[in-house]
């Protein structure tokens, strides 16, 4: 269970993004990949190359099957093959789409044109002079693709489960327990449809928000001065827009063959931004200040245990799902301050 490492000292440079992390961060504060080796980013890239390959292979396979079907099958069988091919093309299109996303970079902290947290992470004083700094939203990895992904999963799941249900209804001697067996699958399918509709509705109304802060990294006692902008795709009456400074504990553990993750949030402070009605393509914007308490714990990123600070944004629109997103803020140990105060005591 234990993941002990060798004695360490000083800074650790991330092999994926060359970001300097404190020695006790085993996960990079910038790209969130393990700082110990580069194998994960390699497998990450390989995964998407795999998506491309499978997608192209499936499309090619469709052509071969169509050719065979046209030559040797009867009309009824051709219909069945056509249905099968439609599903095949659907999966192939999704694989190609996933491959395209992968080539763009899915990770929120690895998007092109995004500066990411400062390379001077270990020098809080230097980072303070960094000026306005754009944070990457935690949802960036799926903000645009999430609805499509959910619709794909929902169609796939419902296609299978409803086919089973209809087959049971058509059959004359279906036992009652068979319906009991398929009921959870139908419920999960409906849940997926609701999630897909919800994600689509959110994306229909909002573009991803842009959060800028005054420093790249912070130390306990600092004030986070933020500026938030978000473009609306449609007109909306904003009920409220709140920004919370949240400290989140995240732990991962193994339970049997399942990897479970639990989180616990502590809200430190909350600011409500001034909001009004907005026209399409208008920008919802606001700024504020949130103070990291002087006695706050610093960010901690180990492989299975994390303590992170987030600026959590919630935009509430009447009769519409809330837009929620988190922006990670790195809080480093106040090394200089603590040493000075210790010298005084």
């Amino acid at each position: 269970m234990s993941e002990a490492s060798k004695p360490t000292s000083g800074a650790v440079t991330c092999p994926h993004c060359s970001h300097e992390n404190p020695s006790f961060f085993s996960v990079c504060a910038h790209c969130r990949l393990p700082v110990s080796d580069g194998s994960r980013s390699l497998s990450f890239a390989r995964g998407f190359i795999g998506c491309w390959t499978v997608g192209v292979a499936l499309i090619g396979g469709v052509g071969v099957i169509v050719l065979i079907a046209a030559l040797i099958l009867s009309d009824e069988n051709r219909l069945a093959v056509a249905g099968f091919l439609a599903a095949w093309v659907f999966v192939a299109a999704f694989m190609l789409y996933a491959g395209r996303l992968g080539s763009r970079g899915l990770h929120p902290h690895r998007r092109r044109g995004d500066a990411g947290p400062a390379g001077d992470a270990l020098r809080p004083d230097a980072a303070r002079d960094a000026g306005p700094f754009r944070l990457s939203p935690e949802s960036a990895r799926d903000s645009e693709s999430r609805p499509i992904f959910l619709w794909f999963i929902a169609f796939f799941w419902n296609g299978l489960s409803w086919t089973g249900l209809i087959a049971m209804l058509v059959a004359t001697e279906t036992k009652w327990w068979a319906f009991l067996f398929i009921a959870p699958f139908i419920l999960v399918g409906l849940g997926l449809l609701v999630a897909a509709v919800r994600a689509t509705l959110i994306r229909m109304r909002f573009r991803a928000g842009v959060m800028t802060v005054n420093q790249a990294t912070f130390v306990p006692g600092d004030t986070v001065v933020f500026d938030y902008h978000q473009v609306l795709r449609r007109s909306a009456t904003i009920d409220s827009c709140t920004v919370r400074l949240v400290c989140r504990e995240t732990v991962t553990y193994q339970q049997g063959t399942t990897t479970r993750t639990e989180t616990h949030d502590e809200v430190i402070e909350e600011v409500t931004l001034d909001t009004t009605s907005h026209m399409p393509r208008a920008t919802l914007s606001g700024d504020g200040r949130l103070v990291i308490p002087k006695s706050a714990m610093h960010s901690f990123l180990a492989a299975k245990n994390k303590l992170e600070y987030f600026l959590g944004v919630t935009v509430a629109v009447p009769l519409w799902p809330d837009y929620k997103d988190d922006f990670c803020v790195v809080v480093l140990p106040s090394r200089i301050e603590s040493r000075a105060s210790h010298a005084q005591t």
């Binding site: 002990a4 360490t8 404190p22 020695s23 504990e249 732990v251 553990y253 639990e262 180990a302 603590s338």
Partner: protein
């Protein structure tokens, strides 16, 4: 019955709110490991490690920041040996006690004994700046 009795004394530490020895980030942890042998024991290595580990619901993460072999050889029955040690602490992580996660600093002593169960001892301490003498909670 254990073959060795192992203990450790940390020098010059203040005491945290929890009552355990406390150090500031960047300080040097110094102390003495005391080992008494109940019987003649051949020791393959007496290791002194300073490091941190996580506790709580998550799978354990741990890091050793300083590791040394203090002794290797025969420990005679009735004899008490003292091994001074020191280790410079890094800037973090600070000790922490949250709802799902705890970060615990410790000095761990491990005696490797051939053909027998290894003996070990650990003493925890707090690493925190003056502002966080109470390590409970994120702020």
């Amino acid at each position: 019955m254990p073959r060795l009795e192992i203990g450790a004394v940390l020098d010059g530490a203040s005491t945290a709110a929890s009552g355990v020895p406390a150090f500031r980030p960047g300080d040097t942890v110094a102390g003495t490991v005391i080992v008494s042998a109940m019987e003649d024991v051949e020791c393959n290595g007496l290791q002194i490690e300073v490091g941190w580990r996580t506790e709580g619901r998550g799978t354990r993460d741990s890091v050793v920041v300083d590791q040394r072999t203090a002794f290797r050889g025969k420990l005679e029955a009735g004899r008490t040996l003292e091994f001074p040690f020191d280790a410079k602490l890094p800037d973090g992580p600070w000790s922490y006690e949250g709802k799902l996660l705890r970060i615990v600093w410790q000095v761990e002593v491990k005696a490797s004994i051939p053909w027998a169960r290894d003996e070990s001892f650990s003493a925890s301490f707090v690493v925190a700046p003056a502002e966080r003498d109470d390590v409970a909670g994120p702020f």
